[in-house]
């Protein structure tokens, strides 16, 4: 089956007062129809920027330097702003990180949803209102008529998140970008939201790109996962495979750092910090923190190659390992 989304070599730079920040560098991954791809990494790894870049929402001083984003066969990077606007909210939608701040404080939540129906589907006010109520019911908000007339500050965090999901799914997009949808929510509410996302995804057949820093979320909901570090994808594969056999040293460290209730042992934080993206090192960006670093790592940037079918890794050490294993 053809992929719904194919991102190839996406690079985003920011011209800041302090210099050029290479926020996203050569990112490549795919999303198939109906699947949930997790994008996981520390803060500052470029996950959110990637999502914004997909929707061409990068504003100056940022810009997409190069790359292709093929969605349903069309390269989004080459589209005009008007053409792109037709994609946003209709074919690709996004759910943002902090639900309260992502909702307009001076408009009722109902209005924020219903106007999308008016905009994208040419609905009348009344129709928009009706569909909004439907949508709110779909995302599990009780008393939708009353809630629709309320403002963001009157709703709890979990409810705001549901409203956002309702906004995003209003026009049945094919792809949903969810940027840290559960961060800042109570654990139980977070679980509900994740279930909701998964259900709605299955029901509408939409694919979901789930950005998170929480491996637990990935394990819970995602089919495949891409691991990002310092603006680059270091490993991509099925969730089961990645968790069972993480290949990239960073992924291994991430998986190891999850506290497990059934295992004894101390917590193992990852040493060092994400390198500054202002003047990133020429070779592998994980080199300074990597326990398996080789000389070549500091010189050449490792390419993302298939280690096993459906399991790509960008690491020299892994390459060597694989070559040796093949004999």
């Amino acid at each position: 089956m053809t992929d719904l989304l194919e991102v190839r070599d996406l690079t985003v730079h920011f011209d800041t007062e302090d210099g050029l920040v290479e926020a996203v560098d050569g990112v490549t991954f795919t999303v198939s129809a109906g699947e949930i791809l997790g994008v996981v990494g520390e803060s500052g790894s470029g996950k959110s920027v990637t999502a914004l870049a997909l929707l061409r929402l990068i504003r100056p001083p940022g810009r997409i330097v190069q790359g292709a984003v093929r969605f349903e066969g069309t390269d989004l990077v080459g589209l005009s702003e008007d053409e792109m606007r037709a994609v946003r909210g209709t074919r690709i939608a996004m759910v943002f990180q902090s639900p309260r701040t992502a909702l307009n404080p001076v408009l009722t939540v109902g209005r924020q949803i219903s106007r999308l129906f008016e905009l994208h589907q040419g609905a009348s006010r009344a129709e928009g209102r009706a569909r909004t109520i439907e949508m709110l019911k779909l995302v599990g908000i009780s008393e939708p008529e009353r809630r629709a007339r309320q403002y963001a500050h009157q709703l709890s965090g979990g409810m705001c998140q549901r409203v956002m999901i309702a906004m995003a799914l209003a026009t049945s997009p094919r792809l949903l970008l969810a940027d840290e949808p559960t961060t800042g929510l109570d654990v139980s509410i977070a679980a509900q939201i994740l279930d909701l996302l998964r259900d709605l995804g299955r029901r509408t057949g939409a694919s979901i790109l789930l950005i998170t820093h929480d491996l637990g979320v990935v394990a819970e909901v995602c089919d495949r996962v891409a691991v990002m570090h310092a603006g680059q994808i270091v490993e991509v594969g099925a969730v089961r495979a990645i968790f069972a056999r993480p290949r990239h040293p960073y992924t291994q460290a991430l998986v190891r750092s999850i506290p497990r209730i059934d295992r004894e042992g101390t917590m193992e934080p990852i040493p060092g910090t994400v390198p500054s993206l202002l003047a990133p090192p020429p070779g592998c960006r994980y080199a300074d923190r990597c326990p398996r670093v080789l000389d070549v790592c500091r010189r050449d940037r490792p390419a993302l190659r298939a280690s096993t079918p459906n399991h790509d890794v960008a690491c020299h050490a892994v390459e060597v390992e694989d070559a040796t294993a093949r004999g």
């Binding site: 914004l52 929707l55 929402l57 702003e81 606007r85 037709a86 994609v87 946003r88 909210g89 209709t90 939608a93 996004m94 943002f96 990180q97 902090s98 701040t101 992502a102 909702l103 307009n104 404080p105 001076v106 408009l107 106007r115 999308l116 905009l119 994208h120 309320q150 403002y151 500050h153 009157q154 956002m164 906004m167 995003a168």
Partner: protein, 338 residues
């Protein structure tokens, strides 16, 4: 109920402020040179006569009593008398307030009408020529004394270009003022369909309104720009854009609506500037308003008007700020619906 509390809070705060205001105004009044009894009695009065009037006016009573009479007198409408006009100050006020009101409103329109769009466009087109010009005007505008601006405008538009009238008042000498409905010449002329009066009063209102409007525009533009910039960075603007709303609509709809709310709070301060600026601008253009009246009474050592003027302005200012606070509470749903 939250909003009710907000209103109550604001109202309660006003009371001690008003008390302090009357205290200060009274102290200043008490210190003013000039003997109001002497003024009332006239220059040729005998000392006994003056003393009699002093007794009647309560000037021989202890200070707290005088204060009480001062405040109650003000509330009653007894604002003393003016020696230059020979009339009760209240009468003079009533005659002069419309002129000041008209100037204030016109200047407010100018400031809002030019300042707000400038600030918004400046934020939307950040770091362009427009932005730099607007910021330059903002920084420069705050430093320019309003009387200087007015005089320069007079020189250019009256003397050099001849498009503005001589600074002799609200309307040309040979045009009778319109029938008094509100006392605002422009409005009255419109209401009575009085063409010549409308043209002439607008003509005369032009420069003073521009001067005063420009004087208060600078802080307004700055704040609008800063608020707008902040909001353009906010997540809900990006989210609206991500939902497919056209960029223009997001900026001039969603973002602007949010940006204008904090600007309401600035209105109170601006009205304060306007009240103060009125005094100077009215002098420059010989505009027969309250400020002009206050200054001329000062010059002629006529103490009556200035006492009441100061108190009147302060009380007005307190109430304007109260109204602004309430408006802000209404406009922001986060406060209106706690």
């Amino acid at each position: 109920m939250g909003f009710g509390r907000y209103v109550l809070q604001r109202l309660l705060l006003v009371i001690p402020t008003l008390f302090g205001v009357t205290l200060i105004a009274f102290t200043l009044t008490y210190l003013l040179p000039g003997n109001p009894a002497l003024v009332k009695a006239g220059a040729l009065a005998t000392p006994e006569h003056v003393a009699e009037i002093e007794r009647r006016m309560g000037l021989d009573r202890p200070v707290p009593v005088q204060y009480w009479r001062y405040v109650t007198g003000f509330l009653r409408g007894d604002l003393g008398e003016s020696s230059s006009t020979g009339r009760p100050v209240l009468e003079d006020f009533r005659q002069r307030i419309p002129a000041t009101l008209e100037l204030t409103l016109a200047s407010l329109l100018v400031a809002l009408g030019i300042g707000v769009p400038f600030g918004v466009l400046s934020a939307v087109h950040r770091d362009t020529v427009l932005d730099h010009v607007s910021r330059l005007l903002g920084v420069g505008g705050v430093a320019m004394p309003s009387f200087w601006t007015g005089l320069l405008l007079l020189y250019v538009f009256f003397y050099l270009l001849g498009v503005a009238p001589a600074p002799l008042g609200r309307i040309a000498a040979d045009v009778p003022p319109p029938t008094r409905i509100l006392g605002l010449y422009v409005v009255d002329a419109l209401l009575t369909a009085n063409g010549p009066a409308l043209v002439s009063s607008l003509h005369h209102l032009m420069l003073p309104a521009l001067t005063l409007g420009f004087a208060v525009m600078a802080p307004l533009t700055r704040m609008v720009r800063a608020t707008m910039l902040e909001i353009l960075e906010s997540e809900y603007v990006t989210a609206a854009w991500a939902a497919g709303l056209p960029r223009r609509r997001v900026i001039y709809g969603d973002a602007l609506r949010n940006a204008l709310i904090p600007v309401i709070t600035l209105l109170g301060v601006i009205v304060g500037f306007l009240m103060a600026g009125n005094v100077v601008v009215e002098m420059v253009f010989a505009w027969p308003g309250l400020g002009h009246y206050a200054v001329t009474s000062l010059m002629t050592k006529d103490p009556g008007p200035i006492q009441s003027f100061v108190l009147f302005v302060a009380v007005m200012y307190v109430f304007v700020n109260l109204v602004v606070d309430l408006l802000y509470g209404l406009a922001d749903p986060r406060i209106r619906l706690r």
